[in-house]
Symmetry: C2
Amino acid sequence: MNTDMIKVVKIGGNVIDSEEALRGFCRDFAALKGPKVLVHGGGVMASRFQEHLGVPVQMVEGRRVTDAETIRIVTMVYAGWAGKHIAALLQSFGCNAMSMAGCDASVIKASRRAPKLLSDGCTTVDYGLVGDVTEESVDAAPLSSLLSLGITPVLCAITHDGKGNLLNTNADTIASSVCCALGAQLLYCFEKDGVLLDRDDPGSVVKRLTPESYSRLRSEGKISDGMIPKLDNAFAALDRGALSVRIKNAAALLDENAGTEIFLKKPYEH
Amino acid sequence: MNTDMIKVVKIGGNVIDSEEALRGFCRDFAALKGPKVLVHGGGVMASRFQEHLGVPVQMVEGRRVTDAETIRIVTMVYAGWAGKHIAALLQSFGCNAMSMAGCDASVIKASRRAPKLLSDGCTTVDYGLVGDVTEESVDAAPLSSLLSLGITPVLCAITHDGKGNLLNTNADTIASSVCCALGAQLLYCFEKDGVLLDRDDPGSVVKRLTPESYSRLRSEGKISDGMIPKLDNAFAALDRGALSVRIKNAAALLDENAGTEIFLKKPYEH
């Protein structure tokens, strides 16, 4: 692996939610060579905190409906506790982290999602203060400047609209958009060992996935529902400028061959 | 006023707590010429949120006793909601803000406060996860780098100890320490017009305060208790490298002559 390439690493809410897993991950992330960016979720923690506050959690097709009270809560959890806790841990392991939201140095300016027709074709949902991003939403210049100062950006999934409003945004999409804008390598890290053919068998990791094999496994019902948006994102990222994409266990961050590698072409065509 | 000088502006929790006052302040701060740093509190909001969560607020000699749950709450409120809300507002007014805590780029590394003997001389209090800072705690290099990139640091009162722990720190002390480290001008902004001789008469602003006049007014009981730590901080800042200190109303940020100017010597000695 070329250590001059920028790596964009995404970790999910389950890793953040375990103090032990998070500490181990931060130690490994700090040891990862070369320029890097961390993107983190925090949805599990946010939902629990919302319930604790008596604010109902409303998810539609996997996305959180975000009213004025919910944007406060997710901003507090993602950009406040999770972001600063990760930054302090990374500093303790010698990684000069800077935890940021999209409003900081305006690195990610999103557009508020218009009310959307659901997949049933007849229900329309207004997600509220939710932002959609593409690689054009990302300003790579401040991220590159920070990297050249030896500072590691740590991004959460809060963006802004440029008019003073914060927006709740999908962290996987932020990771892929940042990766495309920087022409970087993308590592999706979560609590499983990669794309599994059998969700109960960690040994069933698919080592390589091309659009053709993805399409075949999907039609055979062998890719779980939760994996589909992540894989769609992964292929789209490769299509739009990401150098490479790998999906792996957060605990295997430093093992370059762990997990599932996503290819646009069959490996032998490379 | 020389616009090449860096200005460090501190706003208190009462300004942040009013959406209208905060928006007006952010508009004015964005219009302030020259390189600048904003330091904000958020204590009013944090106390209300703590009570809402059923976590008792314990203040001893004006400082918050901070256990593991409280550090989470103040980090969420200061670094999460307040910091990102201010950054998004500043961006909307054309100021390229970056909201940070002390762990970010390790700009402020504090030491955890040892259990302290109170002013009664017999009670000892352990403030918990509370950090103390001096100008040596501040790393001016990343702040200067950000300023030279045209980015305006927005600092909250959360610091770190370098061992992975976040610490709750006094925002006035952060402002004065950052100011000394940068050799900057310090503007303490709050909801009053300056140092008042009569707290109920906004016309009773002291225009200039020297150590001698401060000492005299204090012994005459004309300086209110809440003002004393702020003024002690102000004189200490001048002693340690701040270029100038002014205490004024947040609503009069752009009026260079508003409020109380703090001098180490009598004005005619300059």
